[in-house]
Point group: C2
Chain length 191, copies 2
């Protein structure tokens, strides 16, 4: 998606440790008009698929997922992150390892909001090692819903997540795949 790549080139900041900061438009301040165009692009790329629910994960995925869901005319469910040992109530849960924060956390979704008959598109802002996306896919599987595909705004192509997900035959659409970034020159190479 050319508009998105231009925006990343213009406003993205490369930080030490292969960190790409896009918090001026994607995940702290949020450009909802861009999100709408992102929604239209996902709609085009998943035009052949039947989708009746969008699943995402808190916190920064929620805004994108909601605006995308308006384009798809479907509801959103977001998985909650928790470190609580005792999960109360009827929820599906799995564990996700966060490399960024160096810890393992539980993600949960209430059983009443995900289940048989749901055809689920997973939406998230970033794909790097793929652990969050694998966790969300696991929740879909546990619920008996159908995992239709995953729409990612920015994929870090130099990390393993994209390859792992694609090798499973999952319909993955990443709107911008960063193959390399140079902290010194600020250069970003897209696939």
């Amino acid at each position: 998606m050319e508009l998105l790549k231009e925006r990343i080139r213009k406003d993205g900041k490369i930080k030490e440790g292969n960190v790409l900061k896009v918090d001026s438009f994607l995940n702290h301040q949020m450009d909802v008009e861009l999100f709408h165009k992102i929604g239209e692009e996902f709609k085009r790329r998943f035009a052949e698929e039947e989708i009746n629910k969008i699943l995402t994960i808190e916190a920064s995925g929620i805004g994108i997922a909601c605006v995308v869901a308006e384009v798809f005319h479907v509801p959103v469910v977001f998985a909650k992150k928790t470190q609580t040992k005792n999960i109360a109530g009827d929820v599906y849960t799995t564990k996700v390892e966060s490399f960024t924060h160096g810890r393992i956390y539980d993600i949960i979704v209430a059983k009443e909001f995900l289940g048989k008959g749901d055809k689920v598109l997973i939406i998230d802002d970033f794909l790097a090692n793929g652990k969050a996306l694998e966790g969300l896919a696991e929740l879909v599987k546990l619920s008996g819903a159908e995992f239709v595909g995953a729409g990612i705004v920015i994929e870090k192509g130099f990390q393993v997540g994209g390859n792992v997900i694609r090798s499973k035959g999952i319909h993955l659409e990443s709107l911008a795949i960063v193959d390399s970034m140079d902290e010194e020159t600020g250069e970003i190479v897209f696939r």
Copy 2:
């Protein structure tokens, strides 16, 4: 907002301790078409105000704020909750006391995304004791931005937040004000 009240009556669940669960359409599963109508209602109620930014707080405020922001054609900034003692970088921060979770946490927003010239509408899903809203208002004040008003989806009218905020002369619009709820009968009385 009659449509919202009807939805609360239909799908809201009253739990012990004056808890109103609306997670089937507002803050776990999210009905984005309803959010759009909520946005139009806020737009009508704040028609006289000049607004160029929406501020909310993670996590459940983000989805509503993003869809509302589409109607206003402005960007969203969300404050992050953190228990980290050492806040890195250039951020505005204040403390918020959570009665629900019985703890105090820091909320932060990057200085680059809030400041002089910003005319800020705060959007959140719930108003109860008002501590989160006061915290967000404090961030706006610290930044030098102008606090135009606050739009709340559900106000618990039997808790003090609404009165505290209104007594300060703040333009507060709550789309549904619950004056009382009965766990036994399921009856909800709106103001």
